[in-house]
Subunit: 335 residues, 2 copies
DNA sequence: ATTTGCTTTTGTAGCGCTACAATCAATCTA
DNA sequence: TAGATTGATTGTAGCGCTACAAAAGCAAAT
């Protein structure tokens, strides 16, 4: 992207200005301990004065290595990925790597994002979930780039970090049963292909079946509906069974929508109905009553994802490795 | 990032396999109309079979051009930047460009992100706000990379796209006065350096002064407090003057926190107090009562930002250009 | 048959950097 | 004092691609 007018400052020009060879400049930046203290300082000073910025593209090409890691995230629409991304950022910074992000809300877009990252020859790729276009997977396999799938904890095609949504769902059901609920409703996402969501419904049914309870109270909502899904879900489930006494929501946003709707209906929570969310978003602690929710250790997940990639680059990590970062249940007033 | 084991598929190997010269492969990808239909199809087919991915780094280096644009955004913690990023994504896709994101919550981090982008030799950079580290600005100036500052609409060091927070604040104050409010409180962010926020307080004071009203009801909160800032702000302002009858919040999140607190206190909104938010987040339409708020046309802002960069690359845009994307007021029940 | 104008294809050189081997200087050992 | 050892520095070649100019094909015009 050389602008026609501006003369580009290259490593050559820095070397000339500092009176050393280009290799010394290169070493001063990449392997500081290889060059003598005073030489290094002089080089860095000259470079700063000239406004020299190492050309990643050239370095990348020459070395076949990159210090940039790419992460694809499905959305920034709600806060669920904030901590995840923070964890990634902090971890890469610690090791002198860079993180770049691409948003992709469908597997098709994800595949395009992967292409971009591959074209950039990133050092590694972090994905969310384990549903991907097969040609994107082929490409990643073929190039051998380290890939970590996050928010899942099983059968990665390379590496994975996450927690068991099944276990979390079971824990939530148990909590509701223990507090006396018998007619528990479940809200899921319509047409979702992401295992982050699809695993929950079977886990819900199994848990109830094991407790000898019915599990017919299931309502699907549009993922895009956000808060608005809450009222719809509550209405749908109430129609099916007015004696419903608990509801498990796919996110805290939906759960907040349910709480809003309970307020409109004058239903007391958790007396009339217990409400459980998922994700431990900020709103969970601020809304009244506070939302009981699953806390997925997203920050740690982001950290581990990056660590796994960096370790692989250093020849330490292993393909096929899976890390379970677990989850917590945050118990508040709503359930 | 060549993995030691995997043989890399280069343009050379694609050319050999397709029985053409490397240049024809290059043209087939970059300037499809330059190569004959059937040749092109054969090349693309062979490339796909081999799993060839053009090496951006090499192309970048050779051409001095890049189709990647970098955007720095301050946070994904709340949804305010979702539409902005969506607008950017859609626009770059339309022109065959790529968007990569970096998160940076301080000007120091922003400067680092800019360095990364510059090192990647991106085609352009989009920033939020107009407060930057001076050395980062120097670097951008020196390299001549097209830069657009967004969410501001004045005095860009290169280009800017945004709306007037002053005008928006004035509109909000007028709305409140028109509905009969006389003791209007203002919530601002403590220590914020970003003009997105700092412009509002003077505008607030001016508007009130012009209407002959007092403007002593100002409370500052921590930006990181989120919903929690609402109760604190309401309490602080109420202490200063129990007759407060309206409150302007820095974001819909804070406003939602205020509404929650009003609920706890049994205050009717807008009868006891009118509440105005900012940003038209999803929660604004879902919470009860619905939140009256400023709608900043973020999607269009993102689109325009990218368009401005791409046009500059094509030699059409001009340094110094500023686009005002305006704002709207969404009137709901809360004010 | 030759020229002209057009489209399609192809060598060549070089973008800015780093791996690697070679060189040089300084210090240490026998 | 020669020889070995260590550390700092430097040439050289080449990473994979594209700009550019040159060449080759091909059809219509002379």
């Amino acid at each position: 992207m050389t602008r026609e007018d501006k003369p580009t400052v290259t490593m050559q020009s820095v070397a000339a200005a500092a009176g050393v060879s280009p290799m010394t400049v290169s070493n001063a930046f990449r392997y500081p301990q290889r060059v003598q203290e005073d030489t290094r300082r002089r080089v860095l000073k000259v470079a700063a004065e000239l406004g020299y910025i190492p050309n990643h593209a050239a370095g990348n090409l020459a070395s076949g290595q990159s210090r940039v890691i790419g992460a694809v995230i499905p959305s920034i629409k709600n806060s669920s990925f904030y901590k995840y991304v923070s964890g990634m950022q902090d971890q890469v910074a610690e090791h002198g790597y860079e993180l770049i992000l691409k948003l992709a809300d469908t597997t098709r877009h994800e595949a395009a994002a992967i292409q971009t990252f591959l074209g950039l020859r990133v050092a590694g790729i972090a994905l969310v979930g384990d549903e991907h276009e097969s040609d994107a997977v082929d490409l990643m396999r073929k190039t051998g780039v380290p890939v970590v799938e996050s928010w899942v904890h099983e059968k990665p095609f390379d590496m994975a970090v996450g927690y068991s949504t099944t276990a979390a769902t079971e824990a939530l059901v148990k909590l509701l049963i223990d507090r006396g609920c018998r007619r528990i409703g479940f809200v899921g996402y319509e047409g979702s292909v992401s295992r982050r969501f699809t695993e929950r419904l079977p886990a819900f049914r199994n848990s109830l079946a094991r407790a000898g309870l019915e599990s017919d109270l299931v309502h699907l909502v549009e993922e895009a509906d956000g808060f608005g899904a809450g009222p719809k879900a509550l209405e749908g489930l109430y129609r099916r069974d007015p004696s419903i006494d608990a509801i498990i929501c796919p996110t805290d946003i939906v759960a907040a929508g349910v709480l809003f709707e309970c307020g409109r209906r004058g239903w007391k929570v958790p007396e009339r109905i217990a409400v459980a969310g998922w994700g431990d978003y900020e709103i969970a602690s601020e809304i009244s009553p506070g939302l009981t929710t699953i806390q997925p250790n997203a920050y740690e997940m982001g950290q581990r994802a990056m660590r796994m990639i960096i370790e692989r680059v250093w020849g330490e990590g292993e393909p096929g490795s899976v890390v379970n970062t677990g989850f917590g249940i945050v118990r508040r007033a709503s359930a």
